[in-house]
């Protein structure tokens, strides 16, 4: 507008100059002449304003008129409007719902100021899926580094802690370094963060509480500051409240934040397990930071056990990458799938508009004849598409909301932070953009066709149908791949039988059971009580249960008595179990014998190996009776049995090596957490009531989580299930849309060629010939679409290999399934119009002349 506006201004200036010239010619001096000219003109600003309103007014006028015309047109053909609207609502709704679910993961800035400069720093090793730190190396790195503005650390996991405010509550506590919040760039909502002094060993205890804890436990009372509360049976002063919506950098659930308060010397010499995060110095990239940290990393390798050194690497990666790497591929795939569906929907609407344009040919022709310019007609068509797009967008937002509810119901843990996904302004903006871009896309169809009157309109429409079929094939192939992958995940052997197993897990409050003898006494008592539950069935205790192990030790620590070190690295999972553990979980003993109850008092109890570990240590040799060292502590245990492998690293990877130690009645071996297992014939509800009663009688304040083993295992399938269902849903939508598209074009074709068909029949074609003629057309288009779709599927499914479980992306069964399903649908879509064509009465059509 500005160049135009300058033009208008210049025009007025030129007018004033000429008027001044005229005035001067009548004998006024130049200044007076110019002044008079200005007075004679009146208000130039006002004139400029009026000129502007002429242009803007016309534009608005046209827009309004076109929009009204579009609405009137849609009212006149409600069938067209309904189908177009429903199609668009599906495309926009699906993509908007997916966008709202993945936006916080992929696109939205992290909830930290300049969060793109935050990185996660640490070692990567076979111990953990994520990079980790140990205190001695961390302190060396922190003191010597020159890559980061600041570096901070936190204890690797939350520890359950009990807050005593109006009854005990089990909360999640994390210990962090004093500069934790400031490194993230955050400030408490209330109060302040920890000082260096408060982080010193032996300093008076202080704590920050999360916003939800402040709201629920302290009812949002600002007087919470400096209040002294009892946490883990210690007096702790609350010095601040974390901001609302605070997100731990590793996505942990946090209720209370405590300072680390390390003993400096112990930390420098020990290996406290940590996570560390840092803010990059200005102008330093992640690659440069890695270069700068490399020498320091090399120097600190001495802290790593020598056998593990070759397996340990330096990792510095962006915080976003750290947070989403597990779901990144799934997120992009879902976005891609929903976009494909949107494209299909747009192609469908373009086709509908083309059909309509053909019917409206006369109207447009008349409008052109009475002087509507090509631009005006195009503007009218685009306004029409925009109105359609916006209406479809509005309906799509409604559908997106419903879909999002369905996502969460379908798979609560489907994607991280899915429960936080909601429709907000950003998402609505996305929907608006998608609607308008979509409107452009399908609005271009008719515009393209009108300009190139020479190209056959049928060709363009055919290409659109073929592309719809191609996208449908792609979606269907993806859906059957994910469905088959999920099915394998659900039916694969786990190595244990989760049916009818109920688990009860708990973590003792550290302070209450301080003398270890008290802990041992508790376990003895609870074991006796739980074992005596009538109908409880087989009862066992363990410190952890599959499909994941809570502990691992380096394989390189293991020795066979009297033999040289074993080759190879990696970790070995292990558990402490009672003798009935294997029977309760249905893990078969393949060689040797089980533990015996009487061995639980022994000083050197035996060990049982998993089949994988036995093979790795002994090959074909018989392991039974061998003495092995487990933890490089000079103590040997006798191998008494070998059990079958059971999943211990998640359900989608093969089980790793594992050994089982006998759970002793010895205080030094027992930790604060344990799981009780029941293989029972009782219903879960009754059993859990009885379990709770027993726990309550021993320790009334101890929270116990009771869950069936099947539910526990099933939670591992949330994400694959989410992906499979979603892609399946898109594939169904896509199939329906493509079928409707094919049907529409075929019907149009038949209507257009009625006369030709009549002639053919008059000169002897049978109804069958006609049906074949029509169906052949449908077959050609479908064939072309399927061909392109298969090529696209081969290309795209390769990209999602990482999301598939024990199935190849080129799985022929999935490909064939999708082609067969599509062929059936397309056949049905083509049959109806071809049948109608074969019933054409030549006498009637020829009389129409």
């Amino acid at each position: 507008m500005s160049r135009q506006e300058e033009d208008w201004r210049d025009e007025i200036e030129s007018h004033l100059a000429m008027r001044a010239d005229a005035n001067a010619a009548e004998g006024l001096d130049p200044n007076e002449a110019a002044d008079l000219a200005r007075r004679q003109f009146g208000s130039p600003l006002r004139t400029l304003e009026d000129v502007r309103s002429v242009h803007v007014g016309r534009w608005l006028d046209h827009l309004g008129r076109d929009a009204r015309m579009a609405l009137r047109g849609f009212r006149r053909s409600p069938g067209f409007a309904a189908v177009a609207l429903a199609t668009l609502a599906i495309g926009i709704g699906a993509s908007t719902a997916v966008f709202s679910a993945i936006d916080p993961l992929l696109f939205r800035p992290l909830p930290y100021p300049r969060g793109d400069r935050l990185v996660s720093v640490g070692f990567s090793g076979p111990i953990d899926n994520n990079e980790f730190q140990v205190s001695n190396a961390y302190m060396e790195w922190r003191d010597r580094q020159a890559a980061f503005q600041s570096m901070t650390s936190m204890t690797a996991g939350a520890h359950p802690c009990d807050l005593e405010v109006g009854g005990a509550q089990r909360l999640n506590c994390y210990n962090v370094e004093a500069n934790f919040l400031s490194t993230l760039g955050l400030r408490p909502a209330l109060g302040r963060e920890f000082t260096r002094e408060e982080d010193r060993h032996g300093a008076p205890k202080t704590a920050l509480i999360s916003y939800p804890v402040w709201q629920s436990v302290f009812h949002g009372d600002p007087g919470v500051l400096n209040q002294v509360v009892t946490l883990e049976e210690e007096r702790v002063r609350i010095i601040g409240v974390l901001p609302a919506g605070f997100l731990m950098p590793q996505l942990g659930e946090l209720d209370v934040m405590l300072p680390e308060q390390w003993d400096e010397r112990a930390a420098r010499n020990g290996t406290i397990f940590l996570r560390s995060f840092a803010r990059l110095q200005d102008g330093v990239s992640i690659e440069q930071a890695i270069e700068r940290m490399k020498p320091i990393f090399q120097d600190s390798l001495h802290t790593v056990p020598p056998e593990l050194r070759s397996e340990v690497k330096l990792v510095i990666r962006s915080l976003r990458e750290r947070q989403i790497h597990e779901v990144k591929l799934a997120s992009w795939m879902l976005l891609g799938a929903s976009m494909a569906l949107l494209l299909l929907a747009c192609a469908n609407v373009a086709n509908l508009l083309l059909a309509r344009a053909a019917a409206r040919h006369k109207e447009l022709f008349i409008r052109a004849a009475i002087g509507a310019g090509r631009g005006r007609l195009a503007a009218q068509m685009l306004t029409e598409s925009a109105v359609l797009g916006l209406a479809g967008g509005a309906a799509g937002c409604g559908l997106a909301y419903a879909l999002l509810r369905a996502f969460v119901a379908l798979a609560p843990g489907g994607l991280i932070r899915l429960e936080h996904a909601h429709i907000d302004l950003r998402v609505l903006g996305f929907a608006l953009a998608v609607s308008l871009i979509g409107a452009m896309l399908f609005g271009l169809g008719p515009a393209f066709q009108r300009r190139r009157a020479t190209t056959s309109p049928m060709f363009f429409r055919t290409a659109l149908v073929a592309s719809q079929i191609a996208i449908a094939v792609l979606l269907l192939t993806g859906a059957s791949l994910f469905a088959r992958s999920l099915q394998r995940l659900e039916t694969q052997p786990l190595g244990f039988q989760p049916e009818r197993v109920v688990t009860a897990s708990f973590t003792l409050r550290r302070q209450r059971y301080r003398p270890q003898a008290a802990q041992a006494a508790f376990y003895r008592e609870i074991e006796a009580r739980l074992r005596a539950i009538p109908g409880g069935g087989l009862f066992a205790m363990s410190d952890s249960i599959p499909p994941r192990g809570s502990h691992g030790r380096p394989f390189s620590n293991m020795r066979i008595a009297g033999r040289p070190a074993l080759p190879g690295g990696g970790m070995v999972a292990f558990r402490y179990v009672t003798p009935s553990y294997f029977q309760a979980l249905g893990i078969p003993i393949v060689a040797g014998r089980n533990f015996e109850e009487s061995e639980r008092g022994a000083a050197y109890p035996p060990v049982i190996l998993s089949a994988t570990l036995a093979r790795r240590m002994f090959g074909d040799e018989n392991p039974i009776g061998q003495q092995i060292e487990l933890e490089a502590d000079g103590r040997y245990s006798q191998v008494v049995g070998v059990v079958a492998d059971a999943k211990n690293a998640g359900i989608d990877v093969p089980p790793g090596p594992e050994y089982y130690r006998l759970r002793l009645n010895d205080a030094t071996q027992l930790g604060p957490g344990a799981v009780a297992l029941f293989r029972t014939s009782l219903d879960t509800e009754t059993l859990s009531r009885w379990i709770r009663r027993e726990f309550a009688e021993v320790d009334g304040s101890l929270p116990v989580a009771i869950q069936t083993m099947e539910k526990r295992v099933d939670a591992w399938r949330d994400r694959p299930r989410f992906v499979a269902w979603l892609v399946g849903l898109f594939a169904v939508f896509g199939l329906v849309l493509a079928t409707v598209g094919l049907y529409g074009v075929m019907s149009f074709l038949v209507a257009q060629r009625t006369r030709e068909i009549g002639v053919r029949m008059a000169i002897g074609a049978t109804p069958r010939d006609i049906a074949v003629l029509i169906q052949k057309r449908g077959l050609v288009w479908t064939g072309a679409g399927v061909g392109v779709g298969v090529i696209a599927a081969v290309f795209f499914t390769r990209l999602v290999r990482g999301l598939l479980f024990e199935i190849s992306p080129q799985d022929p069964v999935s490909m064939a399934t999708s082609i067969v399903v599509l062929a059936i649908a397309a056949g049905a879509a083509a049959w109806v119009p071809s049948y109608r064509a074969s019933r054409v009465d030549p006498a009637v059509t020829l009389r129409c002349e």
Binding site: E11, A22, S53, V54, R58
Partner: protein, 108 residues
Amino acid sequence: MRRGDHLQGALELVILKTLAAGPNHGFGITTHIQTVSTGLLRVEEGSLYPALHRLEAEKLVKGEWRITDNARKARFYSLTAAGRRRLADAESKWAAVARGVQKVLRFA
């Protein structure tokens, strides 16, 4: 038809008629109308320019920058083919309206 259409029609008519004599700029149009009507009609600049732009947007006139005889830059407007048709149309309509009004004034 909108209110003021007749008066606005009159303004457009005199502008189109002026331009039928040859391309002219806004200032030239005001002086021409004033001179030819012997001072009976005076066109306000505040109405002239919006009217000119409206005519241009409707493709009845076409504007372009040129240099005047006095070596000033000015935006010259000229009639388009559509403008010529509109002028003929408007002239006959105006004549009818004028005759009608004249008769009403005489016999009412």
